[in-house]
Symmetry: C2
Subunit: 325 residues, 2 copies
Protein backbone atom coordinates (compact mmCIF):
# COMPACT_ATOMS: atom_id res chain seq x y z
CA UNK A 1 0.00 0.00 0.00
CA UNK A 2 1.10 3.49 -0.78
CA UNK A 3 1.83 5.58 2.27
CA UNK A 4 2.88 9.12 2.85
CA UNK A 5 6.54 8.20 2.92
CA UNK A 6 6.37 6.58 -0.51
CA UNK A 7 4.91 9.75 -1.98
CA UNK A 8 7.55 11.81 -0.19
CA UNK A 9 10.49 9.87 -1.62
CA UNK A 10 8.86 9.79 -5.05
CA UNK A 11 8.64 13.57 -5.08
CA UNK A 12 11.93 14.14 -3.31
CA UNK A 13 10.36 16.00 -0.42
CA UNK A 14 9.81 15.30 3.26
CA UNK A 15 6.80 13.51 4.65
CA UNK A 16 5.77 16.66 6.48
CA UNK A 17 5.38 18.49 3.20
CA UNK A 18 3.28 15.68 1.80
CA UNK A 19 1.08 15.65 4.86
CA UNK A 20 0.69 19.42 4.70
CA UNK A 21 -0.11 19.32 1.02
CA UNK A 22 -2.76 16.66 1.42
CA UNK A 23 -4.44 18.12 4.46
CA UNK A 24 -4.16 21.74 3.29
CA UNK A 25 -2.40 22.82 6.49
CA UNK A 26 1.03 24.39 6.93
CA UNK A 27 2.80 26.25 4.14
CA UNK A 28 3.36 24.54 0.81
CA UNK A 29 3.66 26.17 -2.62
CA UNK A 30 0.59 25.64 -4.72
CA UNK A 31 2.56 23.90 -7.52
CA UNK A 32 3.94 21.46 -4.98
CA UNK A 33 0.46 20.85 -3.62
CA UNK A 34 -0.79 20.04 -7.10
CA UNK A 35 2.08 17.70 -7.89
CA UNK A 36 1.74 15.87 -4.59
CA UNK A 37 -2.03 15.55 -4.92
CA UNK A 38 -1.55 14.21 -8.43
CA UNK A 39 0.99 11.63 -7.33
CA UNK A 40 -1.19 10.57 -4.39
CA UNK A 41 -4.05 10.12 -6.79
CA UNK A 42 -1.96 8.09 -9.23
CA UNK A 43 -0.78 5.81 -6.47
CA UNK A 44 -4.31 5.41 -5.16
CA UNK A 45 -3.09 6.65 -1.80
CA UNK A 46 -5.46 6.18 1.14
CA UNK A 47 -4.45 7.62 4.49
CA UNK A 48 -4.06 5.01 7.21
CA UNK A 49 -6.83 5.69 9.67
CA UNK A 50 -4.93 3.70 12.27
CA UNK A 51 -1.98 6.07 12.03
CA UNK A 52 -4.20 9.08 12.09
CA UNK A 53 -6.25 7.73 14.98
CA UNK A 54 -3.14 7.03 17.03
CA UNK A 55 -1.80 10.50 16.50
CA UNK A 56 -5.03 12.42 16.88
CA UNK A 57 -6.65 10.34 19.59
CA UNK A 58 -9.83 10.19 17.54
CA UNK A 59 -10.95 7.05 15.77
CA UNK A 60 -13.58 8.57 13.51
CA UNK A 61 -15.91 5.81 14.61
CA UNK A 62 -19.22 6.06 16.42
CA UNK A 63 -20.72 3.19 18.38
CA UNK A 64 -24.34 2.27 17.90
CA UNK A 65 -26.04 0.15 20.54
CA UNK A 66 -29.37 -1.33 19.51
CA UNK A 67 -31.73 -3.20 21.84
CA UNK A 68 -32.81 -5.77 19.30
CA UNK A 69 -32.07 -5.71 15.61
CA UNK A 70 -34.87 -8.14 14.86
CA UNK A 71 -37.44 -5.51 15.77
CA UNK A 72 -38.09 -3.96 12.36
CA UNK A 73 -38.03 -0.41 13.67
CA UNK A 74 -34.42 -0.42 14.76
CA UNK A 75 -32.82 -1.33 11.45
CA UNK A 76 -34.57 1.70 10.00
CA UNK A 77 -32.90 3.86 12.60
CA UNK A 78 -29.61 2.09 11.97
CA UNK A 79 -29.97 2.62 8.26
CA UNK A 80 -30.56 6.34 8.61
CA UNK A 81 -27.78 6.79 11.11
CA UNK A 82 -25.39 4.91 8.89
CA UNK A 83 -26.30 7.18 6.00
CA UNK A 84 -25.70 10.34 8.00
CA UNK A 85 -22.43 8.94 9.32
CA UNK A 86 -21.24 8.21 5.78
CA UNK A 87 -21.87 11.81 4.81
CA UNK A 88 -19.70 12.93 7.67
CA UNK A 89 -16.87 10.49 6.95
CA UNK A 90 -17.55 8.56 10.10
CA UNK A 91 -17.86 4.83 10.57
CA UNK A 92 -20.52 3.10 12.61
CA UNK A 93 -19.61 0.17 14.76
CA UNK A 94 -22.78 -1.70 15.58
CA UNK A 95 -23.58 -3.69 18.68
CA UNK A 96 -26.76 -5.52 19.42
CA UNK A 97 -27.73 -6.06 23.03
CA UNK A 98 -30.27 -8.69 22.04
CA UNK A 99 -32.95 -7.92 24.58
CA UNK A 100 -30.59 -8.36 27.50
CA UNK A 101 -29.53 -5.55 29.88
CA UNK A 102 -26.24 -7.29 30.69
CA UNK A 103 -25.43 -7.63 27.02
CA UNK A 104 -26.09 -3.93 26.72
CA UNK A 105 -23.50 -3.09 29.35
CA UNK A 106 -21.01 -5.40 27.70
CA UNK A 107 -21.75 -4.00 24.27
CA UNK A 108 -21.07 -0.47 25.51
CA UNK A 109 -17.86 -1.65 27.11
CA UNK A 110 -16.69 -3.31 23.91
CA UNK A 111 -17.38 -0.22 21.89
CA UNK A 112 -15.51 1.96 24.35
CA UNK A 113 -12.57 -0.44 24.22
CA UNK A 114 -12.55 -0.02 20.48
CA UNK A 115 -12.05 3.68 20.98
CA UNK A 116 -15.26 5.02 19.54
CA UNK A 117 -15.49 8.81 19.61
CA UNK A 118 -19.10 8.76 20.73
CA UNK A 119 -22.05 6.51 21.47
CA UNK A 120 -25.58 6.35 20.16
CA UNK A 121 -27.71 4.22 22.44
CA UNK A 122 -31.27 3.03 22.00
CA UNK A 123 -31.64 1.62 25.51
CA UNK A 124 -33.01 -1.72 26.47
CA UNK A 125 -36.45 -1.23 27.94
CA UNK A 126 -36.27 -0.61 31.66
CA UNK A 127 -32.58 0.36 31.62
CA UNK A 128 -30.86 3.71 31.96
CA UNK A 129 -27.35 3.57 30.54
CA UNK A 130 -26.91 7.35 30.88
CA UNK A 131 -23.74 9.21 29.91
CA UNK A 132 -20.56 7.25 29.39
CA UNK A 133 -16.84 7.98 29.15
CA UNK A 134 -17.41 9.44 25.70
CA UNK A 135 -20.12 11.79 24.46
CA UNK A 136 -23.36 9.85 24.39
CA UNK A 137 -26.72 10.38 22.79
CA UNK A 138 -29.69 8.42 24.07
CA UNK A 139 -32.61 7.72 21.75
CA UNK A 140 -35.53 6.68 23.90
CA UNK A 141 -38.60 8.64 24.92
CA UNK A 142 -39.36 12.05 26.41
CA UNK A 143 -40.04 10.78 29.92
CA UNK A 144 -36.56 9.27 30.18
CA UNK A 145 -34.40 11.92 31.93
CA UNK A 146 -31.36 10.77 29.95
CA UNK A 147 -33.18 11.00 26.65
CA UNK A 148 -31.55 13.20 24.05
CA UNK A 149 -33.85 12.85 21.08
CA UNK A 150 -36.85 10.67 20.40
CA UNK A 151 -40.17 10.40 18.69
CA UNK A 152 -42.99 12.03 20.60
CA UNK A 153 -44.50 8.71 21.65
CA UNK A 154 -47.07 10.33 23.93
CA UNK A 155 -48.01 12.73 21.16
CA UNK A 156 -48.38 9.81 18.79
CA UNK A 157 -50.70 8.07 21.22
CA UNK A 158 -52.72 11.26 21.53
CA UNK A 159 -52.99 11.56 17.74
CA UNK A 160 -54.31 8.04 17.42
CA UNK A 161 -56.76 8.52 20.29
CA UNK A 162 -58.06 11.77 18.86
CA UNK A 163 -58.55 10.04 15.52
CA UNK A 164 -60.55 7.29 17.19
CA UNK A 165 -62.55 9.83 19.19
CA UNK A 166 -63.28 11.83 16.05
CA UNK A 167 -64.68 8.69 14.46
CA UNK A 168 -67.24 8.62 17.23
CA UNK A 169 -65.96 5.68 19.25
CA UNK A 170 -66.85 6.06 22.91
CA UNK A 171 -65.97 2.64 24.32
CA UNK A 172 -62.36 1.89 23.52
CA UNK A 173 -59.61 -0.51 24.51
CA UNK A 174 -55.97 0.48 24.95
CA UNK A 175 -53.65 -2.49 24.55
CA UNK A 176 -50.03 -2.11 25.64
CA UNK A 177 -47.14 -4.48 24.96
CA UNK A 178 -44.90 -4.41 27.98
CA UNK A 179 -45.33 -2.27 31.07
CA UNK A 180 -41.58 -2.25 31.70
CA UNK A 181 -40.99 -0.22 28.58
CA UNK A 182 -41.05 3.53 29.10
CA UNK A 183 -41.82 3.96 25.45
CA UNK A 184 -44.91 1.80 25.74
CA UNK A 185 -46.08 3.58 28.87
CA UNK A 186 -45.68 6.96 27.19
CA UNK A 187 -47.73 5.75 24.25
CA UNK A 188 -50.49 4.51 26.51
CA UNK A 189 -50.48 7.74 28.53
CA UNK A 190 -50.71 9.70 25.32
CA UNK A 191 -53.72 7.67 24.26
CA UNK A 192 -55.44 8.46 27.53
CA UNK A 193 -54.67 12.14 26.99
CA UNK A 194 -56.38 12.06 23.61
CA UNK A 195 -59.65 10.91 25.16
CA UNK A 196 -61.91 12.61 27.69
CA UNK A 197 -64.31 11.84 30.53
CA UNK A 198 -67.08 10.90 28.13
CA UNK A 199 -65.10 7.88 26.92
CA UNK A 200 -65.14 4.51 28.52
CA UNK A 201 -61.57 3.21 28.44
CA UNK A 202 -60.28 -0.27 29.19
CA UNK A 203 -56.50 -0.51 29.56
CA UNK A 204 -55.07 -3.97 28.94
CA UNK A 205 -51.54 -5.30 28.58
CA UNK A 206 -50.29 -8.04 26.31
CA UNK A 207 -49.57 -10.50 29.09
CA UNK A 208 -53.20 -10.21 30.28
CA UNK A 209 -53.99 -12.43 27.32
CA UNK A 210 -56.35 -12.13 24.41
CA UNK A 211 -59.38 -13.48 26.29
CA UNK A 212 -59.92 -10.29 28.24
CA UNK A 213 -59.83 -8.47 24.95
CA UNK A 214 -62.65 -10.56 23.55
CA UNK A 215 -64.67 -10.00 26.74
CA UNK A 216 -64.24 -6.25 26.51
CA UNK A 217 -65.46 -6.34 22.93
CA UNK A 218 -68.47 -8.43 23.88
CA UNK A 219 -69.11 -5.74 26.52
CA UNK A 220 -69.40 -3.09 23.83
CA UNK A 221 -65.95 -1.79 22.89
CA UNK A 222 -65.76 -0.66 19.27
CA UNK A 223 -62.10 0.27 18.92
CA UNK A 224 -58.71 -1.10 19.96
CA UNK A 225 -55.60 1.01 20.08
CA UNK A 226 -52.41 -1.01 20.36
CA UNK A 227 -48.90 0.23 21.04
CA UNK A 228 -47.30 -1.67 18.17
CA UNK A 229 -48.13 -2.84 14.67
CA UNK A 230 -47.04 -6.37 15.47
CA UNK A 231 -49.46 -6.43 18.39
CA UNK A 232 -52.20 -5.13 16.09
CA UNK A 233 -51.48 -7.90 13.60
CA UNK A 234 -51.72 -10.49 16.35
CA UNK A 235 -54.98 -9.00 17.61
CA UNK A 236 -56.39 -8.92 14.11
CA UNK A 237 -55.50 -12.54 13.54
CA UNK A 238 -56.90 -13.65 16.90
CA UNK A 239 -60.15 -11.75 16.56
CA UNK A 240 -60.89 -13.11 13.11
CA UNK A 241 -60.76 -16.59 14.61
CA UNK A 242 -63.56 -15.49 16.95
CA UNK A 243 -65.58 -14.15 14.06
CA UNK A 244 -64.81 -10.55 14.89
CA UNK A 245 -63.65 -8.63 11.84
CA UNK A 246 -61.69 -5.43 11.32
CA UNK A 247 -62.90 -2.81 10.56
CA UNK A 248 -66.60 -3.65 10.26
CA UNK A 249 -66.91 -5.09 13.78
CA UNK A 250 -64.14 -3.16 15.43
CA UNK A 251 -61.59 -0.48 14.58
CA UNK A 252 -57.92 -1.29 15.15
CA UNK A 253 -54.75 0.81 15.23
CA UNK A 254 -51.06 0.01 15.39
CA UNK A 255 -47.93 2.00 16.10
CA UNK A 256 -44.73 2.67 14.09
CA UNK A 257 -45.93 1.96 10.55
CA UNK A 258 -43.82 -1.12 9.99
CA UNK A 259 -43.40 -2.51 6.46
CA UNK A 260 -46.20 -5.06 6.76
CA UNK A 261 -48.78 -2.45 7.81
CA UNK A 262 -49.65 -1.92 4.15
CA UNK A 263 -49.53 -5.61 3.34
CA UNK A 264 -52.25 -6.49 5.84
CA UNK A 265 -55.89 -6.55 5.00
CA UNK A 266 -57.31 -4.16 5.94
CA UNK A 267 -54.28 -1.91 5.71
CA UNK A 268 -53.46 -0.72 9.18
CA UNK A 269 -54.14 2.76 10.52
CA UNK A 270 -51.07 3.61 12.54
CA UNK A 271 -48.73 6.38 13.53
CA UNK A 272 -45.26 6.82 12.02
CA UNK A 273 -41.98 8.01 13.46
CA UNK A 274 -39.90 10.41 11.44
CA UNK A 275 -36.92 8.12 11.76
CA UNK A 276 -34.84 10.15 9.37
CA UNK A 277 -35.24 13.32 11.38
CA UNK A 278 -34.52 11.54 14.63
CA UNK A 279 -31.35 10.05 13.19
CA UNK A 280 -30.34 13.42 11.84
CA UNK A 281 -30.84 15.24 15.11
CA UNK A 282 -29.16 12.49 17.09
CA UNK A 283 -26.02 12.35 15.03
CA UNK A 284 -25.71 16.11 14.74
CA UNK A 285 -26.06 16.45 18.47
CA UNK A 286 -23.46 13.77 19.03
CA UNK A 287 -20.98 15.36 16.67
CA UNK A 288 -21.47 18.77 18.23
CA UNK A 289 -20.92 17.27 21.65
CA UNK A 290 -17.76 15.54 20.50
CA UNK A 291 -16.40 18.76 19.03
CA UNK A 292 -17.37 21.18 21.79
CA UNK A 293 -17.02 18.71 24.59
CA UNK A 294 -20.05 20.13 26.36
CA UNK A 295 -22.75 17.66 27.32
CA UNK A 296 -26.12 17.82 25.60
CA UNK A 297 -28.64 19.49 27.86
CA UNK A 298 -32.13 19.84 26.52
CA UNK A 299 -33.99 16.86 25.08
CA UNK A 300 -35.76 16.99 21.75
CA UNK A 301 -38.89 15.20 20.65
CA UNK A 302 -39.93 14.72 17.05
CA UNK A 303 -43.62 14.78 16.20
CA UNK A 304 -45.24 11.57 14.99
CA UNK A 305 -47.53 11.42 11.99
CA UNK A 306 -50.96 9.83 11.84
CA UNK A 307 -51.30 7.41 8.92
CA UNK A 308 -54.97 6.81 8.26
CA UNK A 309 -55.69 3.57 6.46
CA UNK A 310 -58.52 1.09 6.29
CA UNK A 311 -58.47 -0.52 9.72
CA UNK A 312 -60.42 2.30 11.39
CA UNK A 313 -64.00 3.24 10.58
CA UNK A 314 -66.68 5.61 11.85
CA UNK A 315 -68.58 3.89 14.63
CA UNK A 316 -71.48 1.82 13.25
CA UNK A 317 -70.35 2.41 9.67
CA UNK A 318 -70.66 -0.50 7.25
CA UNK A 319 -67.57 -1.99 5.69
CA UNK A 320 -68.13 -0.82 2.15
CA UNK A 321 -66.48 2.52 2.90
CA UNK A 322 -62.72 2.33 2.29
CA UNK A 323 -60.80 4.98 4.16
CA UNK A 324 -57.48 5.49 2.50
CA UNK A 325 -54.99 8.27 2.61
Amino acid sequence: MANIKKIATDMGVSVATVSNALTGKGRVSSQMVDRIRQRANDLGYRPSLAGRALRSGQSGILGLVMPDLTNPLFPRIAQNLSMMADDRQLGILIADSRGNPDEQTQAIERLLDRGVDGLLIVPQKGTAPGQQRVPTVIINTASDPDNTVSADHAGGGKLIAEHIAALGHSDVIILGGDRVSEVQRDRVNGMHAGLNRSHKVTELWDKDGMDQLVCAIKDGATAIMTTSDLLALRVHSHLSQHGIFVPQDISLTGFDDLPFATAMHPQLTTVAQDVEKIAHLAIDRLIRTIQNDDPPVETTTVAMRLVMRASTLIKNETANLETTQ
Copy 2:
Protein backbone atom coordinates in the same frame (compact mmCIF):
# COMPACT_ATOMS: atom_id res chain seq x y z
CA MET B 1 -6.03 6.91 30.15
CA ALA B 2 -3.58 4.37 31.43
CA ASN B 3 -1.18 3.11 28.82
CA ILE B 4 1.57 0.57 28.74
CA LYS B 5 4.22 3.17 29.52
CA LYS B 6 2.43 4.24 32.69
CA ILE B 7 2.38 0.67 33.93
CA ALA B 8 6.04 0.29 33.00
CA THR B 9 7.21 3.30 35.00
CA ASP B 10 4.94 2.32 37.88
CA MET B 11 6.58 -1.08 38.08
CA GLY B 12 10.07 0.16 37.24
CA VAL B 13 10.38 -2.05 34.17
CA SER B 14 10.50 -1.44 30.44
CA VAL B 15 7.45 -1.21 28.24
CA ALA B 16 8.57 -4.31 26.39
CA THR B 17 8.32 -6.34 29.55
CA VAL B 18 4.85 -5.01 30.23
CA SER B 19 3.75 -5.83 26.71
CA ASN B 20 5.21 -9.31 26.98
CA ALA B 21 3.59 -9.88 30.35
CA LEU B 22 0.18 -8.82 29.12
CA THR B 23 0.24 -10.70 25.83
CA GLY B 24 1.93 -13.77 27.27
CA LYS B 25 4.72 -13.65 24.72
CA GLY B 26 8.47 -13.30 25.24
CA ARG B 27 10.20 -14.27 28.48
CA VAL B 28 8.98 -12.78 31.72
CA SER B 29 9.12 -14.32 35.20
CA SER B 30 5.77 -15.48 36.41
CA GLN B 31 5.90 -13.24 39.51
CA MET B 32 6.50 -10.25 37.28
CA VAL B 33 3.63 -11.28 35.02
CA ASP B 34 1.31 -11.45 38.01
CA ARG B 35 2.39 -8.07 39.38
CA ILE B 36 2.03 -6.39 35.99
CA ARG B 37 -1.35 -7.96 35.33
CA GLN B 38 -2.47 -6.84 38.76
CA ARG B 39 -1.35 -3.27 38.20
CA ALA B 40 -2.95 -3.20 34.74
CA ASN B 41 -6.15 -4.36 36.30
CA ASP B 42 -6.01 -1.77 39.06
CA LEU B 43 -5.45 1.01 36.56
CA GLY B 44 -8.27 -0.26 34.38
CA TYR B 45 -5.80 -0.50 31.53
CA ARG B 46 -7.27 -1.02 28.07
CA PRO B 47 -4.87 -1.54 25.18
CA SER B 48 -5.14 1.10 22.49
CA LEU B 49 -6.47 -0.68 19.47
CA ALA B 50 -5.22 2.18 17.31
CA GLY B 51 -1.67 1.59 18.46
CA ARG B 52 -2.01 -2.13 18.03
CA ALA B 53 -3.61 -1.75 14.62
CA LEU B 54 -0.85 0.53 13.44
CA ARG B 55 1.84 -1.84 14.56
CA SER B 56 0.22 -5.07 13.46
CA GLY B 57 -1.43 -3.87 10.28
CA GLN B 58 -4.67 -5.48 11.41
CA SER B 59 -7.61 -3.45 12.61
CA GLY B 60 -9.61 -6.24 14.20
CA ILE B 61 -12.63 -4.96 12.33
CA LEU B 62 -14.73 -6.72 9.73
CA GLY B 63 -16.89 -4.87 7.25
CA LEU B 64 -20.45 -5.96 6.68
CA VAL B 65 -22.24 -4.81 3.53
CA MET B 66 -26.00 -5.31 3.55
CA PRO B 67 -28.27 -4.74 0.55
CA ASP B 68 -31.12 -3.27 2.52
CA LEU B 69 -31.47 -3.23 6.27
CA THR B 70 -35.19 -2.62 6.08
CA ASN B 71 -35.71 -6.12 4.72
CA PRO B 72 -36.34 -8.03 7.96
CA LEU B 73 -34.14 -10.94 6.98
CA PHE B 74 -30.89 -9.01 6.86
CA PRO B 75 -30.92 -7.66 10.39
CA ARG B 76 -31.20 -11.25 11.56
CA ILE B 77 -28.04 -12.07 9.66
CA ALA B 78 -26.41 -8.93 11.00
CA GLN B 79 -27.41 -9.84 14.52
CA ASN B 80 -25.92 -13.30 14.29
CA LEU B 81 -22.74 -12.10 12.66
CA SER B 82 -22.32 -9.43 15.29
CA MET B 83 -22.67 -12.06 18.00
CA MET B 84 -20.05 -14.30 16.43
CA ALA B 85 -17.74 -11.34 15.94
CA ASP B 86 -18.07 -10.38 19.60
CA ASP B 87 -17.01 -13.86 20.64
CA ARG B 88 -13.91 -13.50 18.52
CA GLN B 89 -13.03 -10.02 19.78
CA LEU B 90 -13.75 -8.47 16.43
CA GLY B 91 -15.76 -5.39 15.64
CA ILE B 92 -18.29 -5.10 12.86
CA LEU B 93 -18.47 -1.98 10.78
CA ILE B 94 -21.78 -1.93 9.03
CA ALA B 95 -22.64 -0.40 5.69
CA ASP B 96 -26.01 -0.39 4.02
CA SER B 97 -26.12 -0.16 0.25
CA ARG B 98 -29.81 0.74 0.35
CA GLY B 99 -30.95 -1.11 -2.75
CA ASN B 100 -28.48 0.69 -4.98
CA PRO B 101 -25.56 -1.02 -6.77
CA ASP B 102 -23.53 2.21 -6.83
CA GLU B 103 -24.01 2.64 -3.11
CA GLN B 104 -22.73 -0.88 -2.72
CA THR B 105 -19.49 -0.10 -4.51
CA GLN B 106 -19.06 3.03 -2.43
CA ALA B 107 -19.85 1.20 0.76
CA ILE B 108 -17.18 -1.39 0.02
CA GLU B 109 -14.71 1.37 -0.78
CA ARG B 110 -15.45 3.16 2.49
CA LEU B 111 -14.97 0.01 4.50
CA LEU B 112 -11.68 -0.74 2.77
CA ASP B 113 -10.51 2.80 3.47
CA ARG B 114 -11.27 2.19 7.11
CA GLY B 115 -8.85 -0.70 7.05
CA VAL B 116 -11.19 -3.59 7.68
CA ASP B 117 -9.44 -6.96 7.84
CA GLY B 118 -12.13 -8.66 5.80
CA LEU B 119 -15.49 -8.18 4.17
CA LEU B 120 -18.82 -9.93 4.47
CA ILE B 121 -21.04 -9.02 1.57
CA VAL B 122 -24.68 -9.85 0.97
CA PRO B 123 -24.78 -8.57 -2.61
CA GLN B 124 -27.35 -6.33 -4.13
CA LYS B 125 -29.53 -8.41 -6.41
CA GLY B 126 -28.10 -8.56 -9.90
CA THR B 127 -24.60 -7.52 -8.82
CA ALA B 128 -21.38 -9.50 -8.46
CA PRO B 129 -18.95 -7.69 -6.17
CA GLY B 130 -16.57 -10.68 -6.11
CA GLN B 131 -13.29 -10.73 -4.20
CA GLN B 132 -11.81 -7.46 -3.02
CA ARG B 133 -8.45 -6.22 -1.75
CA VAL B 134 -9.09 -8.01 1.52
CA PRO B 135 -10.44 -11.50 2.18
CA THR B 136 -14.10 -11.50 1.25
CA VAL B 137 -17.01 -13.78 1.95
CA ILE B 138 -20.10 -13.51 -0.21
CA ILE B 139 -23.45 -14.57 1.20
CA ASN B 140 -25.81 -15.01 -1.69
CA THR B 141 -27.07 -18.19 -3.33
CA ALA B 142 -25.56 -21.38 -4.69
CA SER B 143 -25.83 -20.38 -8.35
CA ASP B 144 -23.68 -17.29 -7.82
CA PRO B 145 -20.12 -18.35 -8.75
CA ASP B 146 -18.72 -15.97 -6.13
CA ASN B 147 -20.96 -17.31 -3.41
CA THR B 148 -19.19 -18.56 -0.32
CA VAL B 149 -22.04 -19.64 1.91
CA SER B 150 -25.78 -19.35 1.60
CA ALA B 151 -29.08 -20.94 2.37
CA ASP B 152 -30.07 -23.63 -0.08
CA HIS B 153 -32.71 -21.49 -1.73
CA ALA B 154 -33.38 -24.03 -4.46
CA GLY B 155 -33.66 -26.76 -1.87
CA GLY B 156 -36.09 -24.62 0.10
CA GLY B 157 -38.22 -24.13 -2.96
CA LYS B 158 -38.16 -27.86 -3.55
CA LEU B 159 -39.23 -28.54 0.04
CA ILE B 160 -42.20 -26.22 -0.26
CA ALA B 161 -43.20 -27.67 -3.61
CA GLU B 162 -42.98 -31.21 -2.32
CA HIS B 163 -45.13 -30.23 0.63
CA ILE B 164 -47.74 -28.76 -1.70
CA ALA B 165 -47.55 -31.80 -3.95
CA ALA B 166 -47.96 -34.12 -0.97
CA LEU B 167 -51.13 -32.28 -0.04
CA GLY B 168 -52.54 -33.31 -3.39
CA HIS B 169 -52.47 -30.02 -5.23
CA SER B 170 -52.04 -30.52 -8.95
CA ASP B 171 -52.71 -27.03 -10.33
CA VAL B 172 -50.33 -24.60 -8.67
CA ILE B 173 -49.03 -21.05 -9.10
CA ILE B 174 -45.43 -20.04 -8.51
CA LEU B 175 -45.15 -16.34 -7.72
CA GLY B 176 -41.71 -14.73 -7.79
CA GLY B 177 -40.75 -11.29 -6.58
CA ASP B 178 -38.07 -9.97 -8.90
CA ARG B 179 -36.52 -11.81 -11.82
CA VAL B 180 -33.28 -9.87 -11.45
CA SER B 181 -32.58 -11.53 -8.13
CA GLU B 182 -30.58 -14.73 -8.38
CA VAL B 183 -31.94 -15.77 -5.03
CA GLN B 184 -35.51 -15.48 -6.27
CA ARG B 185 -34.74 -17.36 -9.46
CA ASP B 186 -33.11 -20.19 -7.50
CA ARG B 187 -36.17 -20.41 -5.29
CA VAL B 188 -38.48 -20.59 -8.28
CA ASN B 189 -36.30 -23.20 -9.98
CA GLY B 190 -36.32 -25.23 -6.80
CA MET B 191 -40.11 -25.11 -6.71
CA HIS B 192 -40.27 -26.44 -10.26
CA ALA B 193 -37.89 -29.21 -9.27
CA GLY B 194 -40.22 -30.25 -6.46
CA LEU B 195 -43.08 -30.85 -8.88
CA ASN B 196 -43.39 -33.27 -11.77
CA ARG B 197 -45.00 -33.67 -15.16
CA SER B 198 -48.41 -34.43 -13.66
CA HIS B 199 -48.64 -30.91 -12.21
CA LYS B 200 -49.98 -27.92 -14.03
CA VAL B 201 -47.72 -24.99 -13.12
CA THR B 202 -48.25 -21.28 -13.76
CA GLU B 203 -45.18 -19.11 -13.15
CA LEU B 204 -45.93 -15.47 -12.43
CA TRP B 205 -43.81 -12.56 -11.25
CA ASP B 206 -44.78 -9.74 -8.96
CA LYS B 207 -44.72 -7.07 -11.64
CA ASP B 208 -47.22 -9.07 -13.70
CA GLY B 209 -49.77 -7.78 -11.21
CA MET B 210 -52.31 -9.47 -9.01
CA ASP B 211 -54.99 -9.72 -11.70
CA GLN B 212 -53.31 -12.58 -13.51
CA LEU B 213 -53.15 -14.32 -10.16
CA VAL B 214 -56.89 -14.08 -9.71
CA CYS B 215 -57.43 -15.35 -13.28
CA ALA B 216 -55.22 -18.36 -12.65
CA ILE B 217 -57.20 -19.17 -9.52
CA LYS B 218 -60.49 -18.86 -11.38
CA ASP B 219 -58.97 -21.30 -13.90
CA GLY B 220 -58.57 -23.91 -11.19
CA ALA B 221 -55.31 -23.33 -9.30
CA THR B 222 -55.53 -24.46 -5.66
CA ALA B 223 -52.14 -23.41 -4.30
CA ILE B 224 -49.80 -20.44 -4.53
CA MET B 225 -46.13 -20.66 -3.67
CA THR B 226 -44.47 -17.28 -3.26
CA THR B 227 -40.79 -16.50 -2.91
CA SER B 228 -41.19 -14.27 0.12
CA ASP B 229 -43.40 -13.94 3.19
CA LEU B 230 -44.10 -10.30 2.44
CA LEU B 231 -45.35 -11.27 -0.99
CA ALA B 232 -47.52 -13.93 0.59
CA LEU B 233 -49.00 -11.39 2.98
CA ARG B 234 -49.81 -9.08 0.08
CA VAL B 235 -51.37 -11.93 -1.87
CA HIS B 236 -53.41 -12.97 1.15
CA SER B 237 -54.67 -9.45 1.66
CA HIS B 238 -55.49 -8.98 -2.01
CA LEU B 239 -57.31 -12.27 -2.41
CA SER B 240 -59.51 -11.75 0.62
CA GLN B 241 -60.77 -8.58 -1.04
CA HIS B 242 -61.87 -10.78 -3.93
CA GLY B 243 -63.61 -13.17 -1.59
CA ILE B 244 -60.93 -15.81 -1.93
CA PHE B 245 -59.81 -17.09 1.46
CA VAL B 246 -56.70 -18.87 2.69
CA PRO B 247 -56.56 -21.78 3.33
CA GLN B 248 -60.09 -22.98 2.57
CA ASP B 249 -60.16 -21.63 -1.00
CA ILE B 250 -56.48 -21.77 -1.73
CA SER B 251 -53.25 -22.83 -0.04
CA LEU B 252 -50.50 -20.22 0.29
CA THR B 253 -46.83 -20.41 1.19
CA GLY B 254 -44.16 -17.83 1.95
CA PHE B 255 -40.40 -17.88 2.22
CA ASP B 256 -37.95 -16.98 5.03
CA ASP B 257 -40.23 -17.23 8.08
CA LEU B 258 -40.19 -13.55 8.95
CA PRO B 259 -41.50 -12.43 12.36
CA PHE B 260 -45.01 -11.63 11.15
CA ALA B 261 -45.50 -15.11 9.66
CA THR B 262 -46.90 -16.27 12.99
CA ALA B 263 -48.91 -13.10 13.54
CA MET B 264 -50.93 -13.54 10.36
CA HIS B 265 -54.16 -15.41 10.21
CA PRO B 266 -53.85 -18.10 9.11
CA GLN B 267 -50.29 -18.52 10.28
CA LEU B 268 -48.12 -18.87 7.24
CA THR B 269 -46.56 -22.10 6.02
CA THR B 270 -43.09 -21.12 4.95
CA VAL B 271 -39.48 -22.23 4.80
CA ALA B 272 -36.82 -20.95 7.20
CA GLN B 273 -33.15 -20.18 6.75
CA ASP B 274 -30.76 -21.34 9.42
CA VAL B 275 -29.40 -17.84 9.73
CA GLU B 276 -27.29 -18.69 12.72
CA LYS B 277 -25.49 -21.47 10.92
CA ILE B 278 -24.94 -19.33 7.84
CA ALA B 279 -23.48 -16.55 9.95
CA HIS B 280 -21.30 -19.03 11.77
CA LEU B 281 -19.93 -20.60 8.61
CA ALA B 282 -19.42 -17.24 6.95
CA ILE B 283 -17.47 -15.68 9.74
CA ASP B 284 -15.37 -18.77 10.38
CA ARG B 285 -14.52 -18.95 6.72
CA LEU B 286 -13.60 -15.31 6.67
CA ILE B 287 -11.38 -15.58 9.70
CA ARG B 288 -9.64 -18.64 8.31
CA THR B 289 -9.05 -16.82 5.05
CA ILE B 290 -7.64 -13.81 6.88
CA GLN B 291 -5.28 -15.99 8.88
CA ASN B 292 -4.11 -18.36 6.14
CA ASP B 293 -4.35 -15.83 3.38
CA ASP B 294 -5.62 -18.45 0.97
CA PRO B 295 -8.86 -17.65 -0.83
CA PRO B 296 -11.98 -19.63 -0.06
CA VAL B 297 -12.60 -22.19 -2.74
CA GLU B 298 -15.65 -24.36 -2.38
CA THR B 299 -19.04 -22.85 -1.69
CA THR B 300 -21.30 -24.12 1.06
CA THR B 301 -25.08 -24.26 1.17
CA VAL B 302 -27.11 -24.64 4.33
CA ALA B 303 -30.32 -26.64 4.18
CA MET B 304 -33.60 -24.79 4.70
CA ARG B 305 -36.34 -26.06 6.98
CA LEU B 306 -40.01 -26.45 6.12
CA VAL B 307 -42.28 -24.76 8.66
CA MET B 308 -45.78 -26.16 8.29
CA ARG B 309 -48.47 -23.88 9.61
CA ALA B 310 -52.09 -23.20 8.86
CA SER B 311 -51.99 -21.56 5.41
CA THR B 312 -51.71 -24.84 3.53
CA LEU B 313 -54.37 -27.52 3.46
CA ILE B 314 -55.00 -30.81 1.71
CA LYS B 315 -56.73 -30.13 -1.59
CA ASN B 316 -60.53 -29.92 -1.14
CA GLU B 317 -60.22 -30.10 2.64
CA THR B 318 -62.54 -27.90 4.69
CA ALA B 319 -61.13 -25.19 6.87
CA ASN B 320 -61.91 -26.71 10.24
CA LEU B 321 -58.68 -28.68 10.23
CA GLU B 322 -55.86 -26.65 11.80
CA THR B 323 -52.45 -27.85 10.70
CA THR B 324 -49.86 -26.70 13.16
CA GLN B 325 -46.38 -27.81 13.90
